[in-house]
Structure formats: structure tokens, C-alpha cells
């Protein structure tokens, strides 16, 4: 499984298909997000931006991965590693890249808001900081999983027509963020607007996101093993 994931990951990285999503993520988190934040607002809104951007970015990375591998190349690897395990590896790879983006986003927010300095001067209580960071990590994870689930369900091998796949994925990403029944929406709200009434507790949102991902990955793996690419 490690060798398979390593192959898929290097296929994604060396095809340079991760760069455009990386630019989108950086623009979203540090450009758009940075512009709307003010010093002294705390870490929460920045972490909310970082989590929010992971939904479209992870969806894009996943689509990139799922369209990066020519069918015959996949066939050779599937003969060696099994079609189901190979497909799971292809779903793990963009998730690993997305997680790296998410962590970079959190670190970037911390640095950008000058938190290390503030902590040094006791302007921010360490306890609050840790709980913000914990919430940010959880929100990022939920958004990562939702982005993956959405893209896996709406891209090859499940949906093969590019027009339907791209429009569907874009629509589903918007829905996942805007609809207040979505775990991603709940996660972003929970870190960004601490005072607001939460739609879902973070734990429930995480379980829902895990369930979504499990279902989406299972369907994709099943289709990959049965249909030809």
C-alpha cells in the first residue's frame, strides 16, 4: 500500500498538477483571507479561511489525480498491486497533499498574525491559542475529507464526462460550503465565529465527514475495479 501510494503521489507531484490548486489555496488563505482579517481578531477567522479553502483545493487536487493516470498505465499498476488497492492509493495521494496544504495554511496564519510574538508578551493566553489551533485542525480535517468525498463522487471513474464532472464538482463544492447542513459549513463556522450558534458539534461534523469519505471512496474503488479506464 505504501509503494502504491508513493507511486500515485509522485505521479501527482511530478505532473505539476498540484501547482494550480496550491496557488488557489495560497491566494484564498493569505490573499483573500489575509485581507479580511485584522490584527487582534485572534486566530479563529484565519483558521476558518484555511479550512474553507481546503474544500475546493482538495476537490481540485483529487480531480487532478483521478485524471492524471492514463488507463494503460493504471492497468500495469493494477496488475501488480490489485485494482482496488491501487484506486485507494490514488485517493490517498491527493489527501496527503491537501493535508500538507492545510498544515501550511495553519502555520502561515499563526505566523501572519504574529502569534509567537504575542504569546511572548502574554497578549494572548496560551490556552485560548491551543484550543483555537485544535479547532482549526479539526475544521481543516473535516473540510479536507468533504472536499475529497465530493470530488471522488463526481470525477472519473464514477463520472467520466469532463463537462459534468467539472460543473458537478464546482457546484458540489459551493453547496458543501454554503449549505448549513454540510459538515464543512459547520466546521468553518465553529472556528471562525466562536460566538455563533453552531449547526453541528465538531465531533458530529467529523463523523459525518468520515462517513461521506468512506462511502465515496468505496464507490470509486468498486467502479475502478469493475469498469475499464
Amino acid at each position: 500500500m505504501i509503494a502504491l501510494s508513493r507511486y500515485e503521489l509522485s505521479l501527482l507531484l511530478r505532473s505539476h498538477r498540484w501547482i494550480a490548486p496550491a496557488v488557489l489555496f495560497a491566494l484564498g488563505v493569505f490573499g483573500l483571507g489575509g485581507a479580511t482579517l485584522r490584527h487582534g481578531a485572534g486566530l479563529g477567522p484565519g483558521l476558518a479561511w484555511s479550512a474553507l479553502m481546503l474544500v475546493p483545493v482538495e476537490a481540485w487536487l483529487t480531480r487532478s489525480m483521478l485524471t492524471a493516470e492514463p488507463a494503460a498505465a493504471r492497468a500495469c499498476v493494477a496488475a501488480a498491486g490489485g485494482p482496488r488497492r491501487t484506486q485507494v492509493a490514488a485517493l490517498i495521494a491527493p489527501t496527503v497533499v491537501g493535508a500538507a496544504f492545510g498544515l501550511a495554511g495553519i502555520v502561515g496564519q499563526v505566523l501572519m498574525l504574529g502569534v509567537p510574538r504575542s504569546v511572548g508578551t502574554n497578549a494572548i493566553r496560551v490556552g485560548n491559542l491551543l484550543s483555537d489551533l485544535g479547532g482549526g485542525l479539526a475544521a481543516g480535517l473535516i473540510c479536507l475529507l468533504v472536499g475529497s468525498a465530493v470530488a471522488v463522487l463526481l470525477n472519473p471513474p464514477v463520472i467520466r464526462r469532463p463537462a459534468i464532472a467539472v460543473l458537478g464538482t464546482t457546484g458540489a463544492v459551493v453547496l458543501a460550503l454554503a449549505w448549513n447542513g454540510s459538515p464543512a459549513n459547520a466546521a468553518v463556522r465553529s472556528v471562525g465565529y466562536a460566538g455563533q450558534e453552531r449547526t453541528w458539534p465538531a465531533g458530529v461534523a467529523l463523523v459525518a465527514a468520515l462517513g461521506l469519505v468512506a462511502a465515496a471512496w468505496t464507490i470509486s474503488t468498486q467502479v475502478a475495479a469493475r469498469r475499464d479506464g
Partner: protein
């Protein structure tokens, strides 16, 4: 390994590509599939290689498998050695064993100089060597060749023939499809014919199927490659070449 009542179709409403295929591939066996274009040979090879799961039935006892697809795409962002390293690691090879296996496979096809060439810069012949090399990497088990000779130069074709013979002598199984009727004719093969979604064992020497007259091969010496075989069904073999052409 065994296939029991194996059937395949690519969707619930789509027709069966083949059905009720039951056959055994014993260790050390060479199995050839024949049939018209579109008869499902490639799909059956994919199921045998484990690339694709059957819609019905069971495939059991498949050993470690190397598979050469019909068309190997050069559009991967790796040099050949990196690509082969990935495939080798997926087969569980590491370190010095991995390196020597890659060198051996490339040397066998006279392709050592390909190691540093990016796959996307390769010609058809070059990338076909990589396709064959990756299938030979595990060094045993089952070898599935879907027109693997196409695009190889004469030396590499001979090298692949030799590799197949060595595998068989070693007790490994080889399953293949090739448009060239004389391919591997010097080796004893179990022949199966796919027709109308059903597989049937071909017995005897001259059952290439519905041959009535030999009116010469298309494009001149198409049969030169099969001269090694010297079989009795030369006419039939020549005739089936244009039938299989796209």
C-alpha cells in the same frame, strides 16, 4: 490459476463481452487466445491479469502478475528507471534486488540507455520496451501479454520470445494474444478461441477459423515474422492477420 464461469460486461445494460468462461492455467503453461477484433480477447486478458474484476464468476489462485497492455502510454512524468522502480516496489522489491532486477530487464531488451529517458519523450518502440520491462520485473508468476510484441524492434521481439520460453521452463505461466499467427509458434501452446462471447479450446493444428483460400497476405511479407514456427497452418495464419487489423 482457475477461471470459473467468468463473465464480464462494463455496465448493467451493456452486452456481455464474454460469458461462462471456465478454464485452468496450470503452472508452466503457455495459453494463447485467438478471436476477431472486438471478440473480447483484451478484456479477458485484463480479467486474467487481475486488472479488472469479473462481473460474475471467480478467478482463483492468481500468482504474482506482470501485464503488458495493448497500448502502453508514454505520457507519464517519470524517467524509465523511476517508473520501473515504482513498479518493482509495488511487487515488493527493494534496494539492491530492485536495482539489479531493473538492470536485468532493461539489459535483456537492450534498453539500458532508456533508463534516464523520460517516458513522455519516448518513441513507441522505446516505451514498448519499458512496458515489457515492467511486466518482467517480478521475475516469476504469471505473465500476461496483450500484443506485447507490437512496436518492438526485431532484437527485442526475439528477447521477449526467449524470456517467455525461460519463464515456461521455470514453471511460470504465460498468457498472450497476438495478431501475428506465427508468434511463439515454436512453443507448445494451449489455444483458446473467443467467439460470440464464448471461449472454446482449439484442438489440432489448423483451426485458425473459417479459412477458405489463401490469397496472399496483406502488404507483402507479413508472415516473415512467423517463419520460426514452420507450422502446418501457414495459410490460415496469413489469412488471420488482415482480419485482426484495426
Amino acid at each position: 490459476m482457475r477461471l470459473d464461469n467468468v463473465a464480464k460486461r462494463y455496465g448493467f445494460r451493456l452486452p456481455w463481452v464474454f460469458r461462462d468462461v471456465t478454464l485452468e492455467i496450470p503452472a508452466g503453461a503457455l495459453v494463447r487466445f485467438e478471436g476477431k477484433t472486438g471478440s473480447g480477447k483484451s478484456t479477458l486478458l485484463r480479467v486474467i491479469a487481475g486488472v479488472s474484476e469479473p462481473s460474475r464468476g471467480n478467478v482463483t489462485g492468481r500468482p504474482v502478475t506482470g501485464y503488458v497492455p495493448e497500448r502502453f502510454p508514454p505520457a507519464l512524468p517519470f524517467p524509465a528507471r523511476d517508473y520501473l522502480s515504482h513498479i518493482g516496489r509495488i511487487h515488493g522489491l527493494t534496494g539492491a534486488a530492485l536495482k539489479s532486477a531493473i538492470d536485468a530487464c532493461l539489459d535483456r531488451l537492450d534498453g539500458r540507455e532508456l533508463a534516464s529517458v523520460p517516458l513522455r519523450h519516448m518513441s513507441k518502440g522505446m516505451s514498448q520496451k519499458v512496458a515489457v520491462a515492467q511486466a518482467l520485473l517480478p521475475g516469476g508468476g504469471l505473465l500476461v501479454l496483450d500484443e506485447a510484441w507490437t512496436g518492438l524492434d526485431a532484437e527485442a521481439k526475439t528477447a521477449l520470445d526467449q524470456a517467455v520460453a525461460e519463464r515456461l521452463a521455470h514453471g511460470d505461466s504465460v498468457v498472450y494474444v497476438d495478431h501475428e499467427p506465427g508468434r511463439l509458434a515454436h512453443l507448445e501452446a494451449e489455444r483458446w478461441r473467443l467467439d460470440d462471447g464464448h471461449a472454446s479450446r482449439v484442438t489440432g493444428d489448423d483451426s485458425a477459423g473459417g479459412v477458405t483460400a489463401a490469397d496472399g497476405s496483406a502488404c507483402g511479407g507479413a508472415a516473415t515474422d512467423g517463419s520460426a514456427g514452420g507450422g502446418t497452418a501457414a495459410d490460415g495464419r496469413q489469412r488471420s492477420a488482415p482480419e485482426d487489423a484495426p
